[in-house]
Symmetry: C3
Subunit: 209 residues, 3 copies
Amino acid sequence: MEISQLINILDLAGVAVFAASGSLVASRKEMDLIGFGLMAALTGLGGGTLRDLILGREVFWLQAEWYVAVCLVVAAVVFFVAPMLQRRFTALLWADAVGLAVFAVMGTHIAMVEQVPWIQAMVFGMMTATFGGLMRDVVAGEPSLFMKPEVYVSAAFVGGGTYLLLLELSLLQPVAAVIAVVCSFLVRSGGIIWKWELPRYKPKAGREY
Amino acid sequence: MEISQLINILDLAGVAVFAASGSLVASRKEMDLIGFGLMAALTGLGGGTLRDLILGREVFWLQAEWYVAVCLVVAAVVFFVAPMLQRRFTALLWADAVGLAVFAVMGTHIAMVEQVPWIQAMVFGMMTATFGGLMRDVVAGEPSLFMKPEVYVSAAFVGGGTYLLLLELSLLQPVAAVIAVVCSFLVRSGGIIWKWELPRYKPKAGREY
Amino acid sequence: MEISQLINILDLAGVAVFAASGSLVASRKEMDLIGFGLMAALTGLGGGTLRDLILGREVFWLQAEWYVAVCLVVAAVVFFVAPMLQRRFTALLWADAVGLAVFAVMGTHIAMVEQVPWIQAMVFGMMTATFGGLMRDVVAGEPSLFMKPEVYVSAAFVGGGTYLLLLELSLLQPVAAVIAVVCSFLVRSGGIIWKWELPRYKPKAGREY
């Protein structure tokens, strides 16, 4: 598989899961269908838009209809499915974790392609991974996931760092990308589970989940 | 009347009413005159700035002094007039509604001019219409109008959708633009009045107006 | 000393003090080391990034590693030093005041270099000075310094205005820049002290400091 194909698949997957997390927030806020669409697009496309603006590239969804279409389809599906979910916040947390891992690596990769020095490339990874979710939380007026005590920005850092390290060790880009996404996701999962399992022993602190 | 003239008039009108809504928030927060100016500029210019950045155009107010000047004049007028208003929140709501309708159509129009596919053009309409007001509410630390149960994003959606539909039916651009602005405003007005008239029969829920 | 050298020094100093203010917020929120780094970068680089995007320049930290490196070093230092500070909010307030003064003048200067009309140049000054701190406060979910009753945006306005006025009077750029930074800082200091000294006579209102 070529890197460009894998990048496209990962990118679209990241957009889709972030769009799902945005739609879940729209559901928690009891917005209408159009509101779901906008929250999905904001969350799914926000991080990559900022990345592309700062890199001076054409914004990735400007000419490719796929990205916006995926956000709208995801929003429509979540609109009908979310009321059946018992724990929307849990679903949101995991969708966000997948998006975080994918975009941390994508952001770093694209910055490297654009010849940005590695230290800035790491910043691009963290920015792409966190900005969409941040916008989602700010717009919804919720405390951002970002500020909670679970490992969040660090998971994005691990994703970008692992990717650059594996490239340095001469691994092929697709292999390095997949390993880095998995590492980043595992770190974030650890953070979620650590916070999430704990309340089983201290039930009172667990209400918000 | 040519479309370019109409566009300029509508654009300036949208900036002015959004600037008024920003100034009204500054008034509610008891900011000083300079604070009024910045809130007016942020709200009036925010949506179009994001639109132009993503489209890769020159930001519309960068070389044209008119836009910033209009924001500052509006801020100064509101600074002296607002204390006389009995219901600043109501004035804010209606100024925001006019700006929303105008910018939904403007955003869609400008994206079409830049050859963006129609589905993205709709997103540009919604983004241009809502972003300035969103920034206003986030900066002021108020719950965004956006999240309230009245029809908001949907009104922007109707504006952009109507405009594209009427163009498809071969109407002249200025005619299509005016009809679309009116439709969008009516939808939003319906949402406001529905929420606003209701409390007359249930007085307790109406306190916030 | 040439203006370009002075600009670089001032710019880096502004980034460093804003990075410190972002790190202090991270400390108040009990984030981890990576979180400190991101808050430092967001606050230190945010205002200038927006300025450069709107001006259509290359974003200033894209190819120059210094800026990101300075943010990370500051974040690491604050990470270890902050717990020793008795009054983190006070330190934050003063770091923010220095950054505000420096960036108000820098933003105005760079907009002038890019041939932007003076009225917009003033807006760029205020935007560059306030946006990083605004992002810091929004992300942290704190009421923005911006909305507090002390003189804030006005201090940025004074910085940009003084700079343009002194250039009009044919002062050399480095001299004008230094005087303008000092004026802006004095105005902001006055605002802080006025709010801060007052509580000595009315102890109850002073709790938050």
